[in-house]
Amino acid sequence: MDAFISLANGLTIAIQPMNLLFALVGVLLGTAVGVLPGIGPALTVALLLPITFKLDPGGSIIMFAGIYYGGMYGGSTTAILINTPGESASMATALEGNKMAKAGRGGPALATSAIGSFVAGTIATIGLTFLAPFLVELAIQFGPEDYFALMCVAFVTVSATFGDSPVRGLTSLFIGLALGLVGIDILTGQSRLAYGVPELFDGIEVTTLAVGLFAVGEALYVASRRHIHEEKLEPVRGSLWMTKQDWKRSWKPWLRGTALGFPIGALPAGGAEIPTFLSYSTEKKLTKHPEEFGHGAIEGVAGPEAANNASAAGTLVPLLTLGLPTSATAAMMLAGFQQYGLNPGPLLFAERPDLVWGLIASLFIANAMLLVLNLPLVGLWVRLLAIPQPWLYAGILVFATMGTIAANPSPVELMMLSAFGVLGFLMRRFDYPIAPVVVGLILGPIAESQLRRALSISLGDPMVLVQSPFSAILLLIALVALILPFFLKGMGRFKAAED
C-alpha cells in the first residue's frame, strides 16, 4: 500500500519537535477560540495568516489544522456546560449535553464528547488517508437536486424528533424557515424582508440566533423562575468519569456519528450542521432509553460530537484533492496554502507529498493531543457549575454579548440578540422546542437555493428531482419518515379500538 508508506513518511515529518510544537500551539489556540461564541477557527486562522508568512509552510499549515480540530473541541465544552454553543456545529451537543450537566453528569458528557471526537477524528482521518480520491469523485457528482433531497430528509427527521409533539416541532421549524427568508435572495440578488437594514442583507447570523435562543433565553427563563422554585445545581452527581454503562451506550453512537459526519462533510455543500442533527435524530430513534432524551441522554452527546469531528476531517477531502474550500476554515487554510505559492488540488499530492502527508499525520497527533489536554480538564470544567446561579448566568450574558459583538460589530446585531433572547424565553415558557428554529434558519436557505438551482439547470423540468437515483432514494426516505409515524399512530388507534 502506497498510502501506508506515505503516511509513515508523513509521521516522521509530523513528530519533528518544531512541528509538534506548532500542533500544540494550534490545538491550544483552537480550544480557546472555540469556547467563545462568534470567534471561530476561521477568524483565528485569518488573524494568524500574515504572521505565519515568514514561517515554514509545513509548520504553519499543521498549526492551522490544529486550530481547526481544537475549535471543534472548545465549542462543545461551552455547549455542554453553559448551553452556549461556540459554533453552529455544536448546537446538537447542547441539547442533551447541557441537560446532563444540570443533572450532575457534566463529567461523563464532557468525557464522551472528548473521547467520541477522538475516535471519530481518528477514523475519519484514516478515511481521509485511504478514501479521499474515490470519495471526491463521488462528491462532485452530487448535484443540486441531491442536496435538496438531503435537506428534505433533515427537515423531516429533525422536526419529528424534537419536542413532545410533531406540531410543536413543525411550528418551531417554520419560525426558522421564515427567519431564513430574510436577506438577499442568492439567485436574483434582490433583498427580501430586510426593510433596508444593511445588517439584514446577508440574512440573520446563525450564531446570533443560536446564542440568543439558547444562552440569553435560558438566562431569562432561569431568572423568571428563581422566586418560584430555585433549581439546585449539583456539579457532580455520581462518578465524574464515564461508567461502564456510559461506555456501553456511547460506542455505537460514536461510530454511527462518524459514518454520517465524514461523507457528508466531504460533500462540497455538506457542512457540519446536517450530520450533527441527523446523528441526534438517529440516536433518539435507536436508543433503548427514549425516556431520557430531553433530560440528558448520553447517546445524544456522543453521536453529534463524533459527527461534528468526522465532518471536520471530511471537509479536508475536497480541500486537499480538489482545492475546494467547503467551510470558512477550509477557505482560510486554502489561503494559507496559497500564500506559499501552493495550490491544493490534484497536483498537490504529486508536487508536495511531504506537506500533504505531514498534514494528515499531524491530524492524528493533534487529535491525540486534544484528548490528553481535555480529559484532565474535565474535573476543572465541571466546577464552573458550582458558581452561584446569578453569577454564572450574568457571566453567560457577558460572554454571549461579547462573542456576538466580536463577530459582527454592530448595534443591530445586539438588538437581534436580545430579541431572540426574548423569543427563546417565550418558547421555553410555552414548551416549544428551540433547536428546529436554528435548523430552519441554517437549512432553509440552502434547500431553497439548491431546489431553484436544480430547476434552473433542468430548464424548469421538475422531473430532475427524481431522475438522479440518489435524490429519488433520499426523497423516498423523507416521505416514509413523514408518513410512518402517523400511520403507526393510526394502527395503534385501530388496535386499541379492537380491544
Partner: protein, 323 residues
C-alpha cells in the same frame, strides 16, 4: 468562568507573542483597514496583504484589519461612511463587486460618499468548461449562446457580481438577449467549481485563480480570458483574440472616509504610492497571482465614476437593476 477566561488569555498572549515578531519600529501612520467581507475572501486577503506589506516595509507604524462582512460590502460601507467621517487613518478595501452589489441592493450609502484613494490590483475572468465538453473554444460557446441562451447554464459567483456581469456582456456581444441567460449563482468558489467539474452546468466563469489548479491538472478546459490580449503567464487565449469584443477585470481598490482634508488625502495617496513600489508588495502580487493595476488619486476617482455608470447600464440591460 474563571478557567474559560484563563484559557482565553492564554490564547491572546500566544497571538500577541507571535505578533511581536513582525512589528517594526519607524513610521508614523497608524492605519485601520476595513475589509467589508468575511475572512478568507478576496477583499480580506487584499486587506491582510496590505497590512503585511505596509508594516514590514515601514510605511505605516501599524495597520489593523477589521472585518465587517455582509451583502457584497453594503454593510461595511454603511459603517465606514457613518463612523469614519473625517478620519484620515482609515481605509476600506473595495472593488468591482461592490459597485454592482450597491446597485442591486439599492444601498442607501454609495461610493460617491467615500474619498477614492487608489486602485491596487486586477484579476481577469476565465471561462472554463469540463474537459469532456463538446465546447472547444469561445466561438463554440458563442454559437451555443446565440442558438438558445437559456440552454447554456453558467456557474459563477453572486448575482449581479462581476461573473454575472461578464456572462451577460458575453451574451450581448455575440448577439443574444442578455436578459435570457441562464446564470446560476453559487456562494463561494468551491460550490461552483464542484458543479462545473461534475458537469452539472455548461460553462463556469470566475477569476482565473479559482480554476488554475484544475486547468493545469487537465480537468477543466480554459476557453477564454477577459483580458485585452494573451497574458504572459497563462496558457490560453483572450476572448478578444477570438473575435469577441469583451474586456472586463475584477479590480480591487482602497477608499478613505468622507470629509477628510486635502493633506490627509495626500498622505494616504502617498502611502499607497510607496506601497505599490515596495519590494514586499511586489512579492505578494507575485505569490497571489494578482495583476498590478495601480491607479491613484484623481485618475482613480475618474475611473471609479465611469465604471459606476458603465456597470449600472449593464445591470439594467440584464434586468437586475430597474432604474
Amino acid at each position: 468562568m474563571i478557567h474559560t477566561r484563563k484559557s482565553l488569555w492564554r490564547g491572546a498572549i500566544a497571538v500577541a507573542a507571535v505578533a511581536g515578531f513582525v512589528t517594526s519600529a519607524a513610521a508614523q501612520m497608524e492605519l485601520k483597514i476595513m475589509a467589508p467581507a468575511a475572512p478568507g475572501g478576496g477583499w480580506d486577503q487584499t486587506a491582510r496583504s496590505m497590512q503585511q506589506a505596509l508594516t514590514q516595509s515601514g510605511i505605516a507604524k501599524s495597520a489593523q484589519v477589521v472585518n465587517v462582512p455582509g451583502a457584497g460590502g453594503s454593510v461595511g460601507i454603511a459603517q465606514f461612511v457613518n463612523s469614519g467621517k473625517g478620519d484620515g487613518n482609515q481605509l476600506m478595501v473595495m472593488g468591482y463587486v461592490m459597485v454592482g452589489a450597491l446597485l442591486t441592493n439599492k444601498s442607501p450609502v454609495t461610493l460617491d460618499q467615500t474619498t477614492p484613494i487608489a486602485r491596487l490590483t486586477a484579476e481577469y475572468e476565465a471561462l472554463v468548461v469540463p474537459a469532456d465538453s463538446p465546447i472547444k473554444n469561445a466561438k463554440d460557446l458563442a454559437a451555443a449562446v446565440k442558438a438558445d441562451p437559456a440552454k447554456v447554464t453558467w456557474a459563477g459567483g453572486s448575482a449581479g457580481g462581476v461573473d454575472h456581469i461578464a456572462a451577460a456582456l458575453f451574451a450581448k456581444e455575440v448577439g443574444a438577449d442578455p436578459t435570457k441567460i441562464n446564470y446560476i449563482p453559487f456562494s463561494g468558489g468551491g460550490e461552483a467549481l464542484a458543479a462545473i467539474l461534475g458537469g452539472k452546468v455548461t460553462v463556469g466563469i470566475s477569476g482565473y485563480g479559482e480554476f488554475e489548479s484544475q486547468i493545469k491538472a487537465g480537468k477543466l478546459r480554459l476557453i477564454g480570458l477577459t483580458s485585452a490580449t494573451k497574458l504572459p503567464n497563462i496558457d490560453g487565449q483572450s476572448l478578444k483574440d477570438q473575435g469577441i469584443n469583451l474586456e472586463i477585470a475584477n479590480w480591487r481598490a482602497v477608499v478613505a472616509p468622507p470629509g477628510i482634508t486635502a493633506e490627509q488625502k495626500k498622505a494616504l495617496v502617498d502611502a499607497m504610492d510607496k506601497l505599490n513600489k515596495s519590494k514586499e508588495w511586489t512579492e505578494i502580487l507575485k505569490a497571489k497571482g494578482w495583476d498590478d493595476a495601480y491607479l491613484s488619486g484623481d485618475a482613480f476617482a475618474k475611473f471609479l465614476a465611469e465604471d459606476q455608470v458603465r456597470t449600472k447600464e449593464v445591470l439594467m440591460s440584464v434586468g437586475l437593476v430597474k432604474s
